[in-house]
């Protein structure tokens, strides 16, 4: 901002000069001329100079003389100097008539102004016109009148307060030509940081501070050894008084008094009780008596699944055809594994050697105890009743194999100590190396490959040790008291086998010694490879030449009644006691003459066949007629898959086939005494209940188990355990645990898993009535039915016969009647035709 200049006093003085400031302020000087002067100079007002001609030229010399003459009195004295300085000779004096400048006359001081006034420029006329034009178009420029704005302008102008400073910089010579860097730099204000003045210091005498107390927490734990004292057992004995004390008390008075007071009460109460029992509920007593035998509202609890046994390593893609409980060792189940899908030899491209096993499971800890290896898939097997270590199995290719697991019994018993100690027999397998690996027992005998049939063996059963069978099928006594024979059943035939060496073969077997495979038991080495059945039966069909294809059979278990005292004297060496394991190789078959024939052995058996026929046949081959067959009843529509005897009734047989089951009684040959209604799901397995004689368990295709109780309901199962197993049930076997008094069911399914169920208590109860009466009734009914059928048949035959004979007699009468009837019919037809024609609905009848 330019510094403010003090206001010049010109402004104020400027206004005073207003009157003087005309166009030519320096050139005009107003003056007053006296009349004397006027006369002198000849410019008398209004005479010489008038308004029209106000101008008067005065000579300078005259003015000067005047001034000399009159010196101070002269009117021209104020302009004396100017007049003297006037360059020209003549000075203009102008009569100011109107007092424009304040006086009557004014003197023009400069010649230029004189000229201008006297001689206004000539082109006044043109200029006057232009001026006049301009005056018309543009306003005349007026004189600026100061309003005070010049001050503001002066204020705003920037004027130098001082002259410009010039500063010269130069550099060192040596830096001549070097680039220069000019930069801006702020004119810094000088800081003045504070610093601690060491001359003095202020001590802080007091300071505010706050405190917070934080509790120190520390977690730590300790463990004590202190045990809580607890009584495990207490034992106490009652206090008793010594005899002396008792005597004393007896003598005492107080006892007597006591008895005196108490006795009447007691007698009273006793009498009351004797008279009437006020707590009995008569109604309940009535119903409870009726309920004891037949509880209709029995609630069937679920089957309790105890174990699921499946060993994935061996059971993949396998199915179970047969399961058996071990007869002596508790809780051991053996299952026979076969391929689930029967692949034909042509199709199988699998070159790996397939192993076929029987697995032994332990119920207690679901482990696989033992494996029995067979040459082919095993369809059926059985434990020998006299020696459970001998197992016979029937294979898919028709071979019969034998195993001896005497060396491995410890495995089954679950008392297998570590490795080496157990087996004395050096034939033990590589199971010694690894304790955990399940030992594999190879079969020690197999039937000959030449006699093999195409059909697999579907059922095998040992004959009980009470009798044996000769070549002709006669039952004779069994001196050895061990089971040496078994029966196999295949769709081709039923065969009887003997484990002992027959006389014919002994020469062979001794001659041709073949080395058994390592670790195979040598019990049955004598059988060799030419082991053949004793004899065969093929139950023929009645009307055709074909034979039945037996699938399952059932023998009557014969228990020997006599002590067999007769005839035991010979061959004591062979007649081992049952405790010692018999040496089978030393056993010899005896000729039929030496043995006593047993008459009361039932040599008949029930056979279930593939055609759905249950055949009751005799295996004795005494008579060569085709009357082997006693009876065959076709009842079932499908394949008979189970034939089982009831453990309670010796003569009751249960046969199960795909869509129903039937109960047969031995001796009743007309048919089954009971057949179940056709079921919706296929029955695949079944067994009789071990606990109650009336119950049957039937397994379904969809994995459910039906419980049938014939006393309660005959049309449907009493209880259905739906879908206890996911897959198809292949086999059910029951077992009663003698130690725990439980009953177990082993159920095997199609995916080679075994389920062990415990029967609920509701199925334990033994009923008093039993099935005997039921069966008797059924028998009677059946007989009655048969009689009626026979009767009806007879009548039908008679009718037919009669009809034939009567035809000739009756015909003329009949003909007449027929003619009449025909006539009437024809009339009716014509009537119908007419009516319909009338209606227009007549349709020509079709040509007959």
């Amino acid at each position: 901002m330019p510094p403010k200049r003090p206001k010049s006093g010109k402004g104020s003085s400027g206004s005073k000069r207003k009157s003087k400031d005309d166009d030519d302020p320096d050139d005009i000087f107003p003056m007053v001329l006296t009349s004397a002067t006027q006369q002198l100079f000849g410019c008398r007002a209004d005479e010489d100079v008038t308004g029209e001609s106000p101008y008067k030229l005065l000579r300078k010399d005259d003015i000067v003389q005047d001034m000399k003459k009159r010196a101070a009195v002269s009117d021209f004295s104020p302009v004396k100097q100017t007049v003297l300085d006037y360059p020209e000779d003549e000075i203009l004096l102008v009569f100011d008539r109107d007092f424009l400048y304040g006086q009557s006359f004014y003197l023009v001081l400069t010649p230029e102004a004189k000229e201008r006034i006297l001689h206004p420029p000539k082109p006044e006329t043109a200029e006057a016109e232009v001026i006049e034009n301009d005056a018309i178009k543009t306003p005349e420029p007026r004189q600026w009148i100061s309003q005070g704005s010049e001050q503001e302008i002066e204020n705003e102008c920037v004027k130098e307060t001082r002259e410009k400073l010039c500063i010269k910089f130069s550099r060192v010579r040596r830096k001549f030509g070097a680039p220069v860097c000019f930069s801006d730099h702020n004119a810094d204000f000088i800081e003045c940081p504070s610093y601690k003045d060491s001359r003095f210091s202020i001590k802080q005498m007091q300071r505010d501070c706050g405190l917070q107390a934080v509790p120190t927490l520390q977690s730590s734990s300790a463990q004590t050894q202190r045990k809580v004292l607890r009584n495990i057992h207490t034992q106490y004995t009652p206090r008793e008084l010594s005899d002396e004390d008792k005597e004393n008390i007896h003598q005492s008075e107080s006892l007597r008094n006591f008895l005196k007071t108490v006795t009447p009460r007691v007698l009273h109460a006793l009498q009351q009780a004797e008279i009437m029992d006020e707590f009995t509920d008569d109604r309940k007593a009535l119903s409870s008596a009726a309920k004891d035998d037949d509880s209709n509202e029995q609630v069937y609890e679920d089957l309790m699944l105890v174990r699921v046994l499946a060993n994935r390593a061996y059971t993949k893609d396998k199915t179970i055809r047969c399961i058996n409980w071990h007869p002596t060792i508790q809780g051991v189940i053996a299952v026979a594994l076969t391929e689930r899908r029967e692949t034909q030899l042509n199709e199988s491209t699998d070159l790996t050697v397939k192993q076929h096993f029987i697995l032994f499971y332990s119920c207690k800890n679901s482990t696989t105890l033992l494996l029995l290896e067979g040459p082919d898939g095993i369809f059926a097997f059985d434990f020998s009743p006299s020696d459970p270590n001998i197992i016979v199995g029937g294979c898919a290719n028709g071979q019969v194999v034998l195993w001896d697991i005497s060396a491995y019994v410890t495995y089954l018993q679950g008392t297998q100590p570590g490795g080496k100690k157990s087996s004395v027999n050096t034939d033990t397998f590589a199971s010694d190396d690894k304790d955990k690996k399940t030992p594999v027992v190879r079969f020690c005998a197999a039937s000959s490959g030449e006699s093999v049939q195409e059909a697999p063996i579907t059922d095998v059963q040992w004959l009980p040790p009470t009798f044996e069978v000769t070549k002709t099928g006669e039952a004779v006594e069994n001196k050895n008291k061990i089971s040496v024979q078994f029966v196999t059943c295949s769709p081709c035939a039923i065969m009887f086998w003997d484990v002992r060496v027959s006389k014919q073969w002994s020469s062979w077997a001794s001659g041709k010694k073949h080395t058994t495979a390592h670790s195979v038991s040598e019990t049955f080495k004598h059988l060799g490879r030419w082991w053949k059945p004793l004899f065969k039966i093929t139950p023929p069909m009645i009307n055709t030449r074909r034979d039945y294809s037996p699938l399952k059979f059932s023998l009557e278990h014969y228990t020997c009644t006599d002590d067999n005292t007769a005839g035991t004297t010979d061959d004591p060496a062979d007649g081992e006691s049952s405790e010692v394991v018999p040496d089978y190789s030393q056993l010899r078959t005896r000729s039929a003459q030496t043995l006593k024939p047993l008459e009361d052995v039932n040599t008949r058996m029930y056979v279930g066949t593939q055609e759905g026929v249950v055949v009751y046949t005799d295996w004795k081959q005494d008579n060569k007629e085709s009357g082997h067959l006693h009876n065959a009843k076709s009842l079932h529509h499908g394949v008979v898959n189970t034939v089982q005897r009831s453990p309670f009734y010796k003569d009751t047989i249960l046969t199960i086939e795909d869509w129903n089951f039937a109960i047969w009684k031995e001796g009743v040959t007309d048919g089954p005494i009971f057949t179940s209604p056709t079921s919706e799901t296929a029955y695949t397995a079944g067994c009789c209940s071990p606990s109650r004689s009336t119950d049957f368990f039937i397994g379904n295709e969809d994995g459910s188990i039906e419980v049938w109780d014939l006393l309660k309901k005959t049309k449907e199962p009493v209880q259905v355990y739906k879908h206890v197993i996911k897959a198809r049930i292949t086999c059910i076997k029951s077992w009663s645990a003698t130690t725990s008094k439980h009953y177990y069911l082993a159920v095997s399914d199609d995916v080679a898993a075994v389920f062990v169920f415990r029967l609920p208590k509701s199925l334990y109860k033994k009923e008093s009535l039993g099935l005997e009466k039921f069966f008797e009734l059924e028998e009677d009914r059946l007989k009655d039915f048969q009689r009626r059928v026979a009767k009806m048949k007879k009548e039908a035959d008679e009718l037919r016969k009669k009809g034939e004979t009567n035809k000739q007699i009756k015909t003329p009468e009949e003909q007449k009647e027929e003619e009449i009837e025909m006539k009437e019919y024809k009339e009716y037809l014509t009537l119908e035709e007419n009516i319909l024609k009338g209606l227009g609905l007549w349709q020509a009848p079709a040509e007959a």
Partner: protein, 96 residues
């Protein structure tokens, strides 16, 4: 002594009586017609029961007291006659 015997004979002669036990206040059997083990068992168990019953009755009404107790079960009936110093226990099978 003879009186005691006589009384017991009378009670025993009733129909269906299976056994008699006389127990002192502490629960120790004094006289019995049954075998030792059952006697001891009955005495010990019933003694506690009687005390409980008596206390129950007296709690309800202090003026009251237990005079007789019959325990009826499925198979038999047990009758207990308490007193200040002794108990008499009789086991009877009424339907017998």
């Amino acid at each position: 002594m003879a009186e005691v015997e006589e009384t017991l004979k009378r009670i025993q002669g009733q129909k269906g009586v299976q056994g008699i036990i006389i127990v002192n206040a502490e629960g120790i059997p004094i006289k019995t017609t049954m075998d030792n083990t059952s006697t001891v068992q009955y005495a010990g168990l019933l003694h506690q029961l009687v005390l409980k019953a008596r206390s129950t009755v007296r709690d309800i009404d202090p003026q009251n007291d237990l005079t007789f107790m019959r325990v009826r079960s499925k198979k038999n009936e047990i009758m207990i006659a308490p007193d200040k110093d002794y108990f008499l226990i009789v086991i009877q099978n009424p339907s017998d």
